[in-house]
Amino acid sequence: MKQCAIELKNITKVFGKVVANKNVNLTAYRGEILSILGENGSGKTTLMNMISGIYFPDEGQICIDGEEAVITSPKDAFAYKIGMIHQHFKLVEAFSAAENIILGLDEGKYDLKASTEKIRAISEQYGFDLDPEKKIYTMSVSEKQTVEIVKVLYRGADILILDEPTAVLTPQEIEKLFAILRRMREDGKCIVIITHKLHEVLSLSDRVSVLRKGEYVGTVKTAETSESELTEMMVGKKISLNIDRSEPQNVEPRLVVEALDCCDRSGVKVLDNVSFTANAGEILGIAGIAGSGQRELLEAIAGLQQLQNGSIFYHNPKTGTVEELRGKTPLQIRELGVRLSFVPEDRLGMGLVGNMDITDNMMLRSYRKGRGVFVERKAPKELAKSIIETLEVVTPGATTPVRRLSGGNVQKVLVGREISASPTVLMAAYPVRGLDINSSYLIYNLLNEQKKKGVAVVFVGEDLDVLIELCDRIMVIGSGRITGVVDGRNTTKEEIGLLMTKTGEEGEK
């Protein structure tokens, strides 16, 4: 008989008007791996944050080992031997790994050497590869994650919560992580892993609990379920995507990228010899594990990245001339008559200004128009109105700061503005992330419309089903290299998945 580690009863948490969790009930046992499955925004992370003391539930109870527990701070959580590994690592960049690991502990005398030894011992026990004296800001993502896990183990946690631990890892690293997690399960620890990737759920966990829009849907044993059942639980009813896809017409090269190299601030190559062509009248999808260089690639084309090598050629459909975009600022690119629209991943941090209203956000692209020193607000106001109407943006009015709109409406405003410039190239990074189904479809339709108008659309996505149904061609990127380009009409998820996990060298052939 397995021992009950965590039991949640009727947990509710509200942020402002957003209900993040509503009457959630959940149980996790020792010696098992429980997956919490749900789409983006289904309240998985909020729920786990309440167990680890970051948030406090508005209503409901948390029981640990069968007794009611009041967890008001992470310290309380440690006392219950609960350790959480957050998706965004909570590490002090200026500290060493060891300093981070012992941070906040109270174990008598401060002795960094003794702690370092203990860390080495833990690393050996579970097979981690970690240098305790290395500073965090010099570490790779996977090293940082290792620090996080060791940190929790060092504190003697026997309930481990991992929030999307695989999102940033390579397949090899994922395998290594899973092996470690299984070893911990055999140690009798209770492991909860938050994810939205089905194959991980099936290969790793013993049981799966599903959340949908903040509500608890149910729990099933992994051995007794299937991918389709889980999907149905996750999204409510089984949906086939059925995205319209027209045949590309008048295909001609619009954007030709050759041998791009780009290094980040610490000198690590984030784009390595990237070459491809984006054609007018077609949607080019870009698939890859998050953080493989997608952001840098789009920013490079938009003139926001310093490039070490390569060229970006734009074929101007009006004049027939070819322009080199590399080394130009966004403004210079504009002045060349290149109509490049870009929907960046970070909507409120880059694409829009959260504290400004919709009208003023429309002006971001157009405020330079006109000769005088004053801005002209009439046209942007009209544009704001028409976007609110045609894209059905839910907002109290055009003067509401966009940060107060919901994710989907923010995205409508952003995409609406970018499309209104009647672009010849439209780049969109994760345009449906965090959006509900209806908003997502609206965005797909908008992209398709642009394609029909002869725009070269570049779509960076994470959901492979969407990529396959929407895009004409799909380019796969792995660790900053192009690992392959496939035809969207006759490819499979498996084929793309395989390319995603390839390292660059193999893919080059």
């Binding site: 403004l331 880059m350 694409g351």
Partner: protein
């Protein structure tokens, strides 16, 4: 079983703080207005405590300390009051574009001093060589330039290397102070005083010394309002202030905007220096600005970057400053009492922003375990 539940309950927080949805503008100003009224009442209360006078009497002294015998037709004090407002407000206005860009210009003091230095130098060195209108023009140009340069230096380093501007501009203040001390020593013949200079003074209008200053600042207020609200540069400033990433994304040259805005900010501080020297004191010393550069920071922040609200805030602060000083004065107490009171009211206003942005949620009484 029951005991345990009770014992555990102690740990539950009584209340917790949550971020509010945005309040309507009138609700926000209700909170702020209430705080101001409360603050003024507290100030009067404290004044009553130290002087032992009644409420009516205290308020009367304050009011007459600021406005003089306005009822009997004397406007001398009123003009003086407006003059004080003009100087403080013009500094606050000068800082506002920089603050809106989230550039902490704490160097208004130094920038104004440098502007004032340029003015006095022109007045002394060129006073008898140039005709009056030319002299005034030269004073204006050099003062603006001097302030602008003093603002430009930290801006360049901020733009190029991200050098911390708060500390940089603070240090620049004291360098300016020492330059003034140096110049005053030379020209004052070791007496630390420069006698008022006749040449290059702003003209009297009617019988009024300060009219020009007040009009200039009123004009700057209006222009600044329009500049921030409706000009392309003002728009760029807001975008850079809100998010440098967005600014880069739409092709704004962030470095250029930082430098340009700080030149404007410094130049306007230079104007204040000119108003102080050519329009008011006709002399200069290390205390000419008298710490108002810091008060101006507070005003600009309290005014939420809106020049007209800043004008109201300035009027309140100057009212307290003069009025309370008068109260302290009549009780033969040191006038620094007014600084304490101004500090108090500003701290209250700073604190009240909390209630604009957050609300306190008390834990709902949970019914016994179901």
């Amino acid at each position: 079983m029951k005991d345990k539940a009770v014992a555990k309950k102690k740990h539950e927080p009584l209340f917790h703080v949550v971020k509010r949805d945005d309040l309507a503008w009138w609700q926000v100003w209700l909170i702020r207005g209430f705080t101001i009224v409360l603050g003024v009442l507290l100030v009067i209360f404290f004044s009553m405590m130290i002087t032992g006078k009644s409420f009516d009497k205290t308020f009367d002294i304050m009011f007459r300390g600021v406005f003089g015998r306005l009822m009997k037709g004397s406007t001398t004090m009123l003009w003086k009051y407006l003059q004080e407002i003009a100087i403080l407000l013009s500094l606050a206005l000068a800082l506002t574009p920089a603050f809106k860009m989230k550039f902490w210009n704490c160097g208004a003091e130094g920038q104004a001093l440098m502007g004032g230095l340029a003015s006095i130098m022109c007045m002394i060195e060129l006073g008898d060589r140039l005709s009056y209108p030319v002299l005034i023009c030269v004073i204006a140009i050099t003062s603006i330039l001097a302030g602008a340069i003093w603002g430009l230096i930290p801006a360049i380093f901020k733009a190029l290397f991200g050098t911390n501007e708060t500390l940089f501009t603070l240090m620049m203040n004291y360098i300016a102070t020492q330059i003034i001390a140096y110049y005053v020593y030379i020209k004052g013949g070791g007496s630390n005083v420069i006698n008022p200079v006749e040449a290059g003074n702003f003209p009297k209008v009617g019988n009024n010394d300060y009219f020009v200053n007040i009009v200039v600042v009123a004009a700057i207020t209006l222009i600044m309002y329009i500049y921030l609200r409706s000009s392309k540069q003002g728009y760029e400033i807001s975008v850079v202030g809100e998010s440098q990433n967005t600014a880069r994304y739409i092709g704004i040259n962030v470095k250029k905007v930082i430098i340009r805005t700080m030149v404007i900010s410094g130049a306007l501080c230079g104007v204040t220096g000119m108003l102080l020297v050519a329009g008011k004191d006709h002399s200069i010393n290390v205390n000419s600005v008298g710490g108002q550069g810091f008060t101006a920071i507070l005003i600009s922040w309290l005014g939420q970057f809106n020049p007209f609200i800043m004008a109201i805030m300035t009027a309140i602060v100057v009212f307290l400053r003069i009025g309370v000083a008068k109260v302290a004065d009549t009780a033969l107490l040191n006038s620094s009492f007014s600084e304490i009171m101004v500090g108090l009211v500003i701290l209250m206003l700073v604190g009240c922003e909390f209630f604009v942005r957050y609300s306190i949620k008390f834990k709902r009484k949970k019914e016994a375990k179901a």
